[in-house]
Amino acid sequence: MKTHPKKQMTVICEAPVVGRITRVLDRVPVSGYTLFDAHAGKGSEGTWDTDRMIGDTGRMVMIVSVMSAEQADIAIDRIYEALEPQMGIITIADVDVLRPDRF
């Protein structure tokens, strides 16, 4: 089956910042994204676990979006700018999709 190259952007950020990131993605605009609640983890600030928390502070969320290379170029700068003072991880990976018109 023929596949088509796209970029997949993955952002892991604090729950309170999610709105800021999705607003950036909406403005690019990308065709869509999916949010995942992270359960627990470890980073430079130590370990964390959502069962031991209250409220959104410290809760992490993963945002995944597939887009064209041009969209990724625009998105990466804006997301970096929005996330720069915050903790978080941004990665971009090459992916292949089956239906290129969707992204």
Binding site: G19, R20, R52, I54, T57, Q86
Partner: protein, 329 residues
């Protein structure tokens, strides 16, 4: 003084506070006790709904009074004033960077709704009848403190950066967070439906209330215990002292406001509690957005691990006793 100790003992020996202490001690001892997050959220929405509705029904019986307007004003001014005082005190006693001090100050100006709910229950249990509109005062006091803290931190570089990336909607998000929406919404519904509405849902919101509060405070005790375990690692003695004393400073500042607004002893007790309490849900999330360089380990462990348990056990009865002294009752 005897009366204060009697009241404090009576408060500590009530089921909700004992369950809180159980959760607190259990978690400090290493118990893994937690309620699932969704359950804790549901319980807190129930408590907001019940307390808001009861306040609204009381308002329907009292009618709109000048005291309501004065109390709302007093709440807004207190919420803006207390962070300034907290900021000055922190500057004197600690070496916290300006941005951390501003973030901590925001927490102490804003309020903890859970503390408010526990205080309402405690105040009613000793026979005082707080004004129904205190629910609205609580809602008004959440936000002004955040504005003042942002002003206090304005010189810090990160704040400028963060602002460029849109704090638009920050205050709206804080003000419209789910507890305020449920609390104020239920308050309005209670005010519209009055005694008849109360009769219709009394079995749901009055009888089970104390039991639900016990279950919720059991979980909150565990959360606060973990907060204190963290506080022991990150806070020095001066900051812990601040977390223990600042609530009483806030309550003392609130006394003249309560008198000016003409609040009853029950209403005064609640205003003092609101002024004494520190936010640990809405403001920390707002601070992660607006002042990302301020350390949550400082402000969250201080408000959640030090001030919150102190208020629930010793603080509330003390404020109630002070209220009875100054407002009669």
């Amino acid at each position: 003084m005897d009366a204060i100790f009697q009241l404090a003992a009576g408060n500590i020996l009530s089921p909700p506070v004992l369950f809180f202490i159980l959760g607190f001690v259990g978690s400090l001892a290493g118990s893994q006790l937690t309620l699932p997050e969704a359950m804790a959220k549901t319980l807190s929405i129930y408590l907001m709904l019940a307390i808001g509705f009861k306040g609204g029904v009381a308002l329907a019986a009292e009618g709109l009074t000048l005291a309501l307007v004065l109390a709302l004003l007093a709440g807004a001014v207190l919420s803006a004033l207390i962070p300034l005082v907290a900021f000055v005190i922190l500057g004197r006693i600690s070496k916290l960077p300006r941005i951390d001090a501003a973030a901590v100050a925001a927490h102490y100006g804003s309020i903890s709704i859970v503390t408010f709910v526990a205080a309402t229950e405690a105040v009613r249990s000793i026979g005082l009848a707080p004004e129904g509109f205190m629910v609205a005062v609580a809602a008004v006091m959440e936000t002004p403190a955040i504005l003042v803290a942002l002003f206090l931190a304005r010189s810090a570089a990160s704040h400028r950066k963060a602002t460029e990336h849109g704090n638009n909607g920050l205050l709206q998000e804080v003000f419209l967070n789910s507890s305020v929406v449920v609390l104020m919404g239920a308050f309005v519904i209670g005010a519209i439906t009055g005694a008849e509405g109360m009769a219709a849902i009394e079995g749901f919101i009055v009888v089970p209330f104390t039991g639900v509060l016990c279950l919720f405070l059991l979980d909150m005790g565990a959360v606060a215990g973990r907060g204190m375990a963290q506080a022991r690692q990150v806070l020095d003695a001066r900051l812990v002292g601040f977390g223990l004393v600042m609530p009483f400073v806030g309550a003392a500042i609130a006394v003249p406001f309560a008198l000016l607004a003409g609040l009853s002893a029950g209403g005064t007790a609640l205003l003092l509690t609101l002024a004494a309490s520190a936010s640990y849900i809405a403001v920390p999330a707002a601070m992660r957005l607006a002042l990302p360089e301020a350390r949550p380990s400082i402000y969250l462990s201080l408000s959640l691990g030090v001030t919150f348990p102190m208020n629930l056990t010793v603080g509330i009865p003390a404020y109630a006793a002070i209220a009875q002294l100054v407002a009669g009752g």
